[in-house]
Symmetry: C2
């Protein structure tokens, strides 16, 4: 496997074999280890000392299904800590099929220059002038690049928000239809890409030199069993293809954990208008797609294509977290505007979650009213225009809170929480507080272990068992994000013998034994590297806390607050 | 001495004798101890759990000259850490003459209410409705209040920036002429006052029940000796009355330590137009006042009154730090616009330093050009208007950097450095980095120990002796800020037997022995309390660092960078 280092300061590209100590890492394991090893923790996230690392998962490019995750790592301009944000689409698979284990963007291009990086069939890499597309939105950009390149290329890029180096800027990447609708949204890594002076990474999808497997037959057996388990599971085999992640809307709202109007309520009265069922119904009635394949090697097809009344494309894929952030969180029950906001965020290159929460904080502070979808659209559009208000919104909820003198800002380490209120699902309080990523749900989603409907056995309103659940899930997810398995294909891991199967595949790929203890060890090592970086960057246990509002304001309808003591919280990671 | 607690949540006022353990503290010693003891370090600075403490120095209200300093303490919305900002004028003396040791503003007034606090001749306190003056600028406000109250009252208040709860909002207070031109500028304490729902504190200047002295005769002897020393000193007896603090402009520029155009240069080519001499000349030519008494009990008269071409009042007092922040730092060599910007900041209730640096960062990021004074005035005016751009500027340099995607932001712990570039006076690097206050010069001004012209013996471009100098000065200043002596009257302390004199006065006031060791002990205890609060709030040694630019970019003309290792920096406070 190759490691490509791109020195933007001097526009020099170095391609080498991946060093031995990075060899058995992939995805988040590789990005977080490299950031911790190579980036001075005290550096400015937008300065030349930060690095932006792209790495496919360890199992990406193999025959295993649903492994098309790309990890992107850097010091985050949003949190000031380490960040791994991962994304599907086609790029990770394309890189892996070219035998590329990581692309590292270093330094900073000179003022007034701007580049795209082209990685071709043979794995060669070149920087091309991109000054003409600086400021361009992502849909127009990929159209232009596709026209220029003709052949199938995967395009990973930033929009105007990244060009402006705003802290909520995402890195967008193309799906199987060539649309830039997949986002490495969290942590503002699009701003780091913009600061480097890199508009896009254009990767050939015609690579044929993936990392060979040490034991192809053993791999095949295990990967088939894994795929069968994903197909057989009700959630990944039936519900997700039909409703997509929007299936969660009703369930989380029913649990009283759907943060509404900047987390003043736990249930949204307009929930029926924005539920998974409502979404599927509308899409079907208009001739869109409720079942859609977004990512390479996917067998779930949880994506969708939302269309307008005339059947014209609006956005893909409309996901649960966005329906929340642009729906309930801002008091908006209009699916069409939610879809439009989702598209705009992809087009401008913005994290839908941070941006929705930023709008929610602004509305809570009195700037426009909750439920005013037109105002929300105007705010998001203004980010692309670079107006002062757009810059405030694009900088995330903390900056909105500071600029509007507002103390109800639902962030941890500067990053907004997700669509599960920690007062109604206490386990999420632990994850939001302690993950090195800042407020984040994917780092340790314990919702299923909390809610009875999902088979959960933990009392969501109590603290018992929550710290353990979050800790174990965070360790597990750090390993999942390293091998590159899609979160929605985790049913394969949860099935009988699922983890053994994955361990067998890792072993069959690398050619040395890899068991369950190694899996836990991998996840633990990744978390340790991330926590070490954050400690060097100035984080302490005092940063592993939710904001005051979650401890002080009881959330209807359960009227509970977060109940963990600081001491309990600090037992999460005793390593 | 009395302690007044004002519960804004329930609009209840409690007046009690000051508790014994707070009894021997005053000023910063009292505010920092109370904040550390009573405010949960993790609370939101604009939330109900924060407290805003006003306390006159321990020697304020006594016959000692130049002791009219008021300390204001809280958790800062700008730094997220503890803050003490002190200010002159008449309020500290007024409070002390009423026998009031501290006023503590607690809780948070209900939404849509707004109050002023009136403290009358007899020391009684009352909240009055202030909804009609919310948003009002400070000069108009004090005029209105003076008309309503008739009698001599000292008025401490916030302007629109504080009403908006912006992180660079100051607390302004009236000088001897009743103008709100004295600022507790740093750390955004005006935003805390606004968050509490308090527009103004109106204090009778007719109090006649100051804390009695235990040994009046001993006090008188020592205080006379102190005053004689201040008069006899060349700096406080001659230079300051003639040129004010602006005398520093030429000297610091000559040392190559005058941060110019967002600290890209150490010397400003327009320095002669904004020097102390140029200022005095212009004021004299127009019939203003170069020598002016601003604060109660002052014998130095370092203040000035800047007037326009027609002799009309523009501002008072135009100080060195503002001439820098609104002059060299933004590339502006026009004294009239600097004076106008100074007035606007006082009138809107903004820290001139944070605001000037915020403008400098915006200009450095390409928003308007360096030297464009009209643009600077427009930016400051926009803060009062509450426009998005105004909110960005009013939130300080870090928010400007974030909104404009700019990595050259000269702040420490979120607060801008002052008018001494740490690359050319290395000792200031230690103070900026390690003071619990964030980038701050008064906490440990070692310029005099660095520059030969000031009698300094330390090499300003070297590291030797700098840590010790900063540490000793920081301890000393924590004590100075506790007894309430004006920084410019420190010549009395520096004189032969000066410290003994001050210790004698503390002893004569309190009625128990107080020696040099107690002085050092007092300063150390204050710093320990402040550092303890910051540690609880999440600060670690990683926060005791300057931004990357000072370590990486050599500053002309000396072309030096900050040279301390992290380990050296961390030896500053080994307690």
């Amino acid at each position: 496997m190759k490691l490509i280092r791109v020195d933007m300061t001097n526009r020099k590209i170095d391609v080498k074999d991946i060093p031995q100590d990075y060899r058995m890492l992939g995805g988040r394991g590789l990005t977080s280890t490299m950031i911790n090893n190579e980036v001075p923790a005290g550096c400015h996230p937008l300065g030349p000392q930060n690095k932006l690392v792209f790495s496919p998962g360890l199992l990406t490019g193999t025959p295993l299904i649903n492994t098309s995750r790309l990890s992107v790592g850097a010091k985050s301009p949003l949190t000031g800590g380490i960040k791994e944000s991962n994304v599907g689409g086609t790029v990770a698979y394309a890189l892996a099929r070219l035998g590329i284990g990581a692309v590292v963007i270093e330094g900073k291009a000179p003022v007034d220059s701007y580049y795209s990086l082209v990685i071709d069939d043979d794995g060669s890499a070149e920087l091309i002038d991109a000054r003409d597309v600086k400021g361009m939105r992502t849909y127009a950009l990929v159209e232009k690049l596709a026209a220029a390149y003709g052949e199938p290329y995967s395009i990973t890029c930033i929009g105007p928000a990244g060009d402006f180096q705003l802290s909520s800027a995402s890195i967008q990447t193309t799906d199987l239809d060539g649309r830039p609708c997949r986002a490495a949204g969290r942590g503002g890594l699009g701003a780091v890409m913009g600061a480097k002076g890199l508009k896009a990474m254009i990767v050939s999808r015609k690579g044929k030199t993936p990392d060979p497997l040490a034991s192809p037959e053993a791999f095949k057996t295990a990967s088939r069993a894994y795929a069968d388990a994903v197909k057989a599971d009700e959630f990944s085999g039936e519900i997700l293809p039909q409703l997509g992640t929007a299936c969660l809307v009703e369930a989380i709202n029913a649990a009283g954990a759907f943060p509404t109007r900047n987390a003043r309520d736990g249930q949204f009265e307009g929930v029926e208008k924005i539920s998974g069922e409502a979404l599927a119904e509308r899409i079907k009635a208009r001739g869109g797609k409720t079942t859609h394949k977004g990512c390479a090697q996917c067998i779930i097809d949880c994506s969708n294509e939302f269309v307008d009344q005339d059947g014209r494309y609006v956005t893909s894929s409309l996901e649960y977290e966005t329906i929340w952030s642009m729906g309930g969180m801002i008091g908006n029950d209009d699916l069409d505007s939610i879809a439009r906001l989702d598209f705009l965020c992809d087009d401008i290159g913005l994290d839908t979650m941070s941006t929705g929460v930023a709008i929610a904080v602004a509305m809570d502070a009195g700037y426009r009213s909750f439920g005013d979808a037109a105002a929300a659209i105007e705010m998001v559009e203004s980010v692309a225009e670079g107006t002062p208000m757009g810059r405030i919104i694009g900088s995330g909820p903390d900056v909105v809170g500071q600029c509007f003198g507002h103390d109800r800002v639902p962030t941890v380490k500067g990053q907004s929480i997700a669509a599960y209120d920690p007062r109604a699902i206490q386990g999420m309080a632990v994850t939001y507080s302690t993950t090195p990523m800042g407020g984040d749900h994917t780092a340790g989603w314990v919702v299923d272990q909390n809610l009875e409907d999902f088979g959960g056995t933990i009392n969501p309103l109590g603290t018992e068992g929550q710290v353990e659940a979050s800790r174990d899930t965070q360790i597990h997810m750090a390993a999942v994000d390293s091998v590159g398995i899609c979160d929605f294909a985790q049913s394969g891991l949860a099935a009988e013998g699922g983890l053994e199967n994955v361990c067998k595949m890792v072993s069959a790929k690398l050619g040395h034994p890899f068991g369950k203890a190694d899996w836990t060890d991998l996840g633990t090592r990744v978390l340790k590297a991330e926590r070490e970086f954050n400690r060097k960057a100035g984080f302490s246990s005092a940063d592993d806390r939710l904001p005051e509002m979650f401890y002080k304001e009881p959330l209807p309808p359960h009227n509970t607050v977060v109940m963990f003591s600081d001491e309990e919280m600090d037992t999460t990671f005793d390593f």
